[in-house]
Structures are given as structure tokens and as C-alpha cells.
């Protein structure tokens, strides 16, 4: 299956197979007016199977949100059809407005303007807790 290479834009590569659509939604890629290719279950020598997202425009990617969903993904920046930068994604220490606190007693339930902030409290188990009430986020 062929998808045209992009001139200037971003490729999110090495996405764990099955997480492509979630990342597409999380990064609000449906709101872009450029062409976006979401390739699911592409074959990969390293991973066996992977998802890939190609965005034909240079946009700011929320690396924290991406890192939370899939810390193994990589970002490739392309300008004039050439790769100018590769970035690895890591599990972020802090997530702002990526997750919502589900605790009905949390201050964020009554104060709508507060950002929903989650902090990485147990990196080995990928546990995030609400900064305000310490409620655990539903794990990915």
C-alpha cells in the first residue's frame, strides 16, 4: 500500500499497532485542513506491525500527550522532502488537559477553569495521579 511522501510536515512513526486512531483523535488531527494519512497495521521489521501517521503540514505536536499514549513512538520532521530531525517520545512527567479527573470530590469538578493536571508518580507502572486529589488515572 503506497502513500505519497510528504514535502513538508511530520511523520509519527513506530506507533504501537492499534493506537494510531487514538493518537489521531488525541492530537485533534481531524481539525487540520491539510492531508493526513493514518496507516494502520503497516508491516515493520522491528515491530512486526505498527501504525503510522503522516501529516502534510508542520504543526506543533503535543509531545506529552503523545508520550502518554505511546512512549515508543517517534517523530520525524520533514522539510523540502528531506528528513531534518528525528525525535523520540518519552513518558512525560506532567500531563495538562490530556486526562480528566474522575473523582467526584476533586476540586476540578466544581472549578471548571482549572487545568486538569496529572503527575507521573510511579514511572515503572506508568501510574499518573491527579495533582489536586491524587486519584489514579485510568491506565493506558
Amino acid at each position: 500500500m503506497n502513500i505519497d511522501s510528504i514535502q513538508t510536515g511530520i511523520v509519527i512513526d513506530h506507533i504501537t499497532a492499534g493506537k494510531g486512531m487514538e493518537i489521531y483523535n488525541l492530537l485533534h488531527l481531524d481539525k487540520l485542513d491539510c492531508s493526513v494519512a493514518l496507516l494502520l497495521n503497516a508491516s515493520s521489521n522491528k515491530m512486526g506491525c505498527k501504525d503510522i501517521i503522516k501529516i502534510n503540514q508542520d504543526i506543533d505536536i503535543d509531545m506529552n500527550a503523545l508520550g502518554y499514549v505511546d512512549p515508543g513512538a517517534t517523530i520525524v520532521i520533514i522539510r523540502n522532502s528531506k528528513v531534518v530531525e528525528k525525535r523520540t517520545v518519552s513518558l512525560p512527567e506532567k500531563l495538562t488537559n490530556v486526562l480528566k479527573c474522575k473523582n467526584p470530590r476533586c476540586i476540578t469538578t466544581t472549578e471548571q477553569e482549572l487545568p486538569h493536571v496529572f503527575l507521573l508518580t510511579e514511572p515503572s507502572k506508568r501510574v499518573y495521579r491527579c495533582m489536586y486529589c491524587e486519584t489514579k488515572a485510568n491506565s493506558k
Binding site: 473523582n103 470530590r105 477553569e113 491524587e134
Partner: protein, 303 residues
């Protein structure tokens, strides 16, 4: 400018320092009677409380300071829809330090992020109550002479009991501590608090049998099943009388057991135990005032 939101905001060394100051206040009250002259404490209590608010206010008066008080969300600007952040910014213009109780978890943290003066968490929902823990630590130190090498029984509502959670966080930092967690199945310690114990490889026992656990205990910390933490009245009624401490249950207890309770009590400790020399819960109340005095002095940097 520092605030106290969680007991873990204080290092073990700082806890020792506060306990030292509190003991000095007990021994030399006159030395501290004017130390906060000209300073104002704002007590913002958006959830019902008698003893904690009075304790803070008594503490400030005994330090020679003054108190501005708000009680109940209904009588404050919160009823008009003011945010915690705006309240904190506003009160910062009037007072030198804030003590805040709020039913919403995290509200004092939000206040501390927006205030220009120190904020003390005086209880936020079922989350944290660090000054109760300060009272507990001073009581344990004064009654047992140490904070390490103790077997601590925690009994009652371990699920919603914020005093229990904070005490575990604080005591888990001392060596030789062992926890005995006594509760009905429905009110067991939440996993995130238990993980604190597990991570530090602290020995613990989980049981529903108070009497069987009694002989091992150096400290028995009783808690009330709190009606206000339940969404369902039926669950509250079913669980409220799970553990009632009566004199006969103390037959196998150590002679130097220290019986504690954050108060208020409903019926979980029989009044017949009040005159037992092992009952320390009213001393805890007094110790709470001294620790709040020490804390106010530290946060206002008047020592």
C-alpha cells in the same frame, strides 16, 4: 513563602523541629505569647468543623495574633460562585496566613498556588489533614517517647479516613514501624495508601479482628465511620457500628498501649475508657493546638 498541604511537605527533620518547638511552647508558654503580635490568621472553613477551627484560632490567640474567620460555604463569597483561586488572592490582601478546610479535594493546593501568603490545609474532603497528623505525631512522641520501633493498629474506616492515610505516610518514614490494619472489608485501606507501605517493605497485617490484633499493639488509632463520606445512607448505617472499643476488649492489651482517636467520636470508643490511663485522645486535642502554634510560627518565620 511556604504552605503545608500534605504531611510530606515536611521532611523528617522539619517534623522533629516542629515537635521540638511544640514541646518548648508547652514548657515555656510565656516565651511565645506575643510572638505573632500584629499577624492575622484567616480561617476559611467551607465545611463544618468545630475542633479544628477552634484549635487554629486558639493557637493564633495564644501566640498573640489575631483571627479573621469564615465558616460555611453558605455565608461566604463561595456561595456567590467565587473560585478558590480568587478567594485565596483576596484573603491574601487581608491576612498573613490562611488555614483552609474544604469539602473538595485539592482546594487548599489551588489556594496555595494563588495566595501570596502561606496556606495550611485544615482538611480537604477525604484527602489530607496534615495538622491532625502533626497532633498525632506529637502525641505518639510524648506518650511513647519515640516515633520509631512501634506497632501501630489503625482501626475503623481506613478507606475514607484521611487522618489514617496521612499518619501512615508520616510514620512510614521511621524505622522499625509495623502497621496492623483493622477494618471491615468494605472500608479497607485504599491500594494507593497500601502501596506506600509495600514500597518501603514495611511489615503489615490486614485483619477484621480487633481483639486478636490487640496484644501486639503499641498504639491503637481508632477512627469514626464518617456519614459525610458516604453517597449512600444504607452503606453508612450498615458499617457505622463495625468496631466499638469497650473496656473488656482491652483485657489483652499492653499495659502501656496508647489509645488515640482524631475525634469527634460517636460511639466507637466507650466513655468508660476515658479514665483509663492509656486513653490519649483528649491529650491529642491539646497537642494539636501546640503543633498548630509551632507550625504557624514556622510558616510565618517568626521563630
Amino acid at each position: 513563602m511556604r504552605s503545608l498541604i500534605s504531611i510530606l511537605d515536611l521532611s523528617v527533620e522539619e517534623l522533629d523541629e516542629l515537635i521540638g518547638v511544640a514541646n518548648d511552647i508547652i514548657d515555656n508558654p510565656a516565651k511565645y505569647s506575643e510572638i505573632c503580635r500584629g499577624k492575622k490568621l484567616a480561617t476559611l472553613f467551607f465545611e463544618p468543623s468545630t475542633r479544628t477551627r477552634l484549635s487554629f484560632e486558639a493557637a493564633m490567640y495564644e501566640l498573640g495574633g489575631n483571627v479573621l474567620s469564615v465558616t460555611g460555604a453558605g455565608s461566604s463569597s463561595a456561595a456567590k460562585g467565587e473560585s478558590v483561586a480568587d478567594t485565596a488572592k483576596t484573603v491574601s490582601c487581608y491576612a498573613d496566613i490562611i488555614a483552609m478546610r474544604h469539602s473538595k479535594e485539592g482546594a487548599p493546593l489551588v489556594a496555595s498556588m494563588n495566595a501570596t501568603i502561606p496556606v495550611i490545609n485544615a482538611g480537604d474532603g477525604g484527602h489530607n489533614h496534615p495538622t491532625q497528623t502533626l497532633a498525632d505525631l506529637l502525641t505518639i512522641r510524648r506518650e511513647k517517647g519515640r516515633l520509631d520501633n512501634l506497632t501501630i493498629g489503625l482501626c475503623g474506616d481506613l478507606k475514607f479516613g484521611r487522618t489514617v492515610h496521612s499518619l501512615i505516610e508520616a510514620m512510614a518514614r521511621y524505622t522499625g514501624v509495623k502497621f496492623v490494619l483493622i477494618s471491615p472489608e468494605e472500608l479497607k485501606l485504599p491500594s494507593y495508601v497500601k502501596s506506600i507501605i509495600k514500597e518501603k517493605n514495611i511489615p503489615y497485617v490486614q485483619t477484621t479482628d480487633l481483639e486478636a490484633a490487640m496484644p501486639d499493639l503499641d498504639i491503637l488509632y481508632m477512627t469514626r465511620v464518617q456519614r459525610e463520606r458516604f453517597f449512600n445512607e444504607e452503606d453508612y448505617l450498615r458499617l457505622k457500628d463495625s468496631y466499638i472499643l469497650t473496656p473488656d476488649k482491652l483485657n489483652n492489651a499492653k499495659a502501656d498501649l496508647c489509645i488515640m482517636h482524631p475525634l469527634p467520636r460517636v460511639n466507637e470508643i466507650s466513655v468508660a475508657i476515658d479514665n483509663d490511663p492509656r486513653a490519649a485522645y483528649f491529650k491529642q486535642v491539646l497537642n494539636g493546638k501546640y503543633m498548630r502554634m509551632a507550625l504557624i510560627c514556622k510558616l510565618l518565620e517568626v521563630l
